[in-house]
Symmetry: C2
Subunit: 365 residues, 2 copies
């Protein structure tokens, strides 16, 4: 099952293991399956920062009573194609998918459907939630707020999360266009990777507690903050800040969740945030039917032309090739389905400890 | 009317002048009023690159038969809360507002309303189109594609416009949250300003025809291109590229307009683009009612708390203050309403020529 020479694990084994961990924690079948699917999908697509490396974090929050297994989400408010879902302190990995399914139902009745989610928890890789809509030929958007680690452009306080924007648009012969991005220069996972390797980070990724640029990958544990996309005021970091702020408002303010500096953190070094502005963290998802804008067949052809033209984009001096958004992740996905998912030694050890705690018998130290 | 010592003009005089120019070109009252309102609003908010400095460009395109006065826009397709508007080669400054009004009507029936627009032309400052929805207490989005001047991240061909994203969210006691940003590091207007002053641009704004970073503000006229937000591959310019691409697809591919490198250019130095993928340029606008998500009164209170907290954000070392998105533009707007709009000498001369051509009698050389 596990090739110890290459430190790789087949995705089906990994998914089975994660499902078993969630199940052992008291999550029901649907929650456990969503949790396993979403985390495995992140690793398949090369987004290790949102994959099984985070499993221990979810377990910690469940142990601490901050994520509730077997939750009962309910629609708190609805009008035509818009609604708010209360996730009942449940597993964000599952609840965001439920919200997307509701948005898709609303889109069938109203052209587009929009669901804000409160009282939820970390939803993992945003891409995993838009796949449901893409499979049904819809365009979809997924946003979430997150642990306050990011300073506004020109600021030094940590007021925002890395608040991702994920937009998917189906095509014809090509896989869908998929943009899935943190609204910071890089996700905080990149700092963790650099810290493990003991190397500095480039200037422009993060800053110290006074707002001075920093190359220290552990700066977040010393009061430092991530920098919004743009990287500096001179290079328009107010735009990355504005995007992250918009995600925070749509996900947190609109749903009744916490927002800004009051978002309950996923990362342990932020400790507890005692002041509240709402319940849990928030998401915002939506789906559009294409039919109301254009014949879907014609749209698929036009998307194929778009993707083809941009795939053929001539690279700049010193660059190998230009990727259409989502293309690189699709290539990693295909390769890892075949050859397995590489797992670093420290993550491996954390998984072996979980295996041993729950007596699963898939991951051995 | 015009203070020649300060080179300032009162916004009401400027708006009257612009309306008269459009009217003289054969546009009807509604078109002329929209055109004047949208261009003046850009100058009031300090976005000179999209203000009256562009008037001569619109006149040139009308003279060339590329923008049609007195156009008859029509709904080409519709299903529930989604629709496509054909702008009949009309004035984008007017058509985008019409599309937003349609989106607002659809939002009243379906919770949210979405309109893609084909066969249109440059729509000016995106903010001007979301004001209609903000005034009615709705959240709104406005996107457009534009002249191909931007290379994909890692590429050297000009395949995208500076494709703006504008999102507005109403608050309570505070003015609305307004994000209005090009998806490039800076708008191409900044290069024009530097060229007029004869100064270099910072690295990271633009690149030469081979994709090498350039500090030459005239590089776009030598085959160079603008760089997506992020500024370099190491600082995640694929994110700015992905956002600009998403705007292009929603505005151009989905509506039946041209997209990517086939967008008919506004700037004269790109010449004619003869190959077509659709009609004119494209926009995408939408509006959400708040009521389906949350009680609007409660939402307004929560937005006020958000804005208050972020307004109080402690600045980083060397920074005066942190602005909430839209705040700086609101301050400029208030000031210029009172003290007038500064007009540079070259723009002034172009306006005087138009005044003389149409015998208006407001702007004198």
């Amino acid at each position: 099952m596990v090739n110890m020479e290459t430190n790789k694990i087949q995705s089906s084994d990994l998914e089975r293991f994660i499902r078993q961990v969630f199940y052992s924690l008291g999550f029901n079948d649907a929650e456990s399956e969503s949790g396993a699917r979403v985390l495995t999908l992140a690793d398949l697509r090369g987004v290790e920062s949102h994959g099984v490396a985070r499993l221990g974090g979810y377990v910690r929050l469940v142990d601490a009573g901050k994520i509730k297994p077997n939750a009962n989400p309910y629609v708190e408010r609805q009008s035509y194609g818009t609604a708010t879902l209360n996730a009942d302190s449940g597993l964000g990995l599952h609840m965001a998918g439920k919200a997307m399914h509701l948005a898709m139902e609303l889109a069938q009745l109203h052209g587009s459907g929009w669901v804000s989610v409160c009282n939820s928890s970390h939803f993992g890789i945003a891409y995993s939630h838009i796949t449901h809509a893409l499979e049904r030929g819809m365009m979809a958007l997924a946003l979430t707020n997150a642990s306050p680690l990011v300073a506004p452009a020109g600021g030094k306080e940590r007021l925002l999360g890395t608040n991702p924007i994920c937009l998917g648009i189906p095509a014809g012969q090509y896989p869908p266009f998929v943009l899935d991005m943190a609204t910071t220069v890089v996700a905080n996972g990149k700092l963790e990777v650099a810290a493990r390797k003991g190397v500095n980070i480039p200037l422009g990724y993060a800053q110290d507690a006074e707002g001075n640029p920093s190359t220290d990958p552990t700066i977040l544990t010393q009061g430092g903050s991530m920098v919004p996309l743009g990287g500096s005021l001179a290079h328009s970091s107010y735009k990355g800040y504005g995007l992250g702020a918009a995600v925070d408002i749509l996900s947190g303010v609109l749903s009744g969740a916490n927002y800004g500096p009051w978002v309950p953190p996923f990362v342990p070094f932020l400790g507890n945030i005692t002041e509240k502005q709402g319940d849990g963290i928030g998401h915002f998802v939506g789906a559009w039917q294409i039919d109301g804008f254009m014949d879907p067949q014609l749209f698929a052809q036009r998307m194929d032309t778009w993707i083809q033209r941009f795939s053929q984009s001539v690279p700049a001096a010193g660059v190998d090739r230009v990727y259409v958004p989502g293309q690189l992740e699709n290539m990693t996905h295909a390769k890892r389905l075949e050859t397995g998912i590489p797992i670093g030694i420290s993550v491996w050890e954390s998984l072996a400890a979980l295996d041993s705690r729950f007596g699963i018998g898939i991951i051995h130290s």
